[in-house]
Symmetry: C2
Subunit: 241 residues, 2 copies
């Protein structure tokens, strides 16, 4: 009897934990970066809601995650519906889409943890460079300006989308995590730590995201030139790599 | 007799090689980055002319190089005099000093190999960021615009000055080498290869320097936050590190 009671309690706790488990929304989750992150987060055991402007595309993308990741818990929803169900929101929209998105979504993002992975890239004859955004020196600073009460954290900006999508090949490289809220940085760093092969580096202030975004442009250009899939490592931090 | 002749010939060849060997000027060679590079280049066997606005300071800095590097060949001269004697010129001035320097020096730099190591940093309450330069998105692009006939190559931008100065501690990290002239990039990459611990990465177009310069701001901020001396590595290039 004692065993049976224990087993029942355990089941109930598991069910509660399951229902109580916070979800993570990936806005713009049908693009390569968003899809790749959704896969990796689902693999790490997170309950993911893939967001898209088009809910049917979101549902299809979520189904693709479930198909690629055995045991994944992943759903799809229109971007704002996805945001409404999550306290943690990954922003994986194209840089140019951010201002319009915030016109609609800013009130719904208030107070949430926003994980900004946007790099505002432009291409000039195949050469990648950073395109200036209106009123901010980085996508992350724009996000914070548009949702002042959010805990904005910049992360995964230098992790190649195709590498995130490719679950067969180990990831490598550092994820510089920037944000003005240290607890939020720690939370996102812990999330990074759940993705094998990636190391979180505490990047301090959110404004450092402007420098991290520039690295992406460099890596994209190196990839093209060297026919490679590059990432970066920060040397000289403790503990040594 | 045959031996004696051979010995004489050898001495003569050595002397000729010595006189014919091209010199490398380091403009702004009394600052930490310029001094560090002068030491490393002298260690690599290059004949270095340290340049400064003040020729007596240049001579003192050159003496310091000779004192730190056994067997170094290093002289000091006023910046423009140093430039006149070298076909390869390292530009290690503060970013803000560049426009005024070119007002005086541009005609003398025509056609030379200019190795630009400048990062236009500004500090806001201890936080490093890139300060926009007039009419260019990077120091390297400004240099090229001011001296159109020069072969401008961006290099050593992410190598910490204090690490360059400290001959006791091995260097580590990658030097991304950018420039629009592939042969000039190769020449500078070979120079980087003479500095133990550093690896040259072909960074392609000069415009990539804007992204490389941003990395320096990130590293400076990481150094302060982590009390570290950081550098970067590009992962995913062949041959693997």
């Amino acid at each position: 009897m004692a065993n049976a009671v224990a087993a029942d309690t355990s089941v109930a706790l598991e069910r509660d934990a399951c229902y109580a488990r916070p979800m993570i929304a990936v806005v713009g989750g049908t693009g390569p970066l968003g899809s790749g992150l959704a896969r990796r987060l689902a693999t790490a055991g997170e309950h993911v809601i893939v967001g898209s402007r088009d809910s049917s595309r979101a549902v299809a993308a979520a189904a693709a995650v479930c198909s690629a990741v055995p045991g994944a818990r992943c759903e799809g929803a229109e971007n704002l519906a996805a945001v409404a169900r999550a306290d943690r929101v990954v922003l994986a929209l194209p840089g140019m889409a951010l201002p319009e998105f915030f016109d609609r979504a800013a009130p719904r993002l208030a107070g949430k943890l926003l994980i900004d992975v946007v790099v505002p890239l432009a291409f000039e004859q195949g050469f990648a460079t950073i395109v200036p955004l209106p009123g901010a020196r980085s996508a992350s600073e724009l996000v914070q300006a548009r949702v002042p009460t959010a805990r904005v954290v910049s992360a995964f900006k230098n992790t190649p989308a195709d590498a995130l999508l490719d679950l067969e090949t180990p990831l490598q490289g550092d994820v510089v995590v920037c944000g003005d809220d240290a607890a939020a940085r720690a939370e996102v760093s812990a999330l990074v730590g759940k993705v094998p092969g990636l190391r979180a580096v505490d990047g301090g202030r959110l404004a450092n995201a402007r420098h991290v975004e520039a690295i992406t442009a460099l890596l994209v250009n190196l990839n093209r030139q060297h026919r490679a899939r590059t990432s970066i490592a920060i040397l000289g931090l403790e503990p040594a790599r």
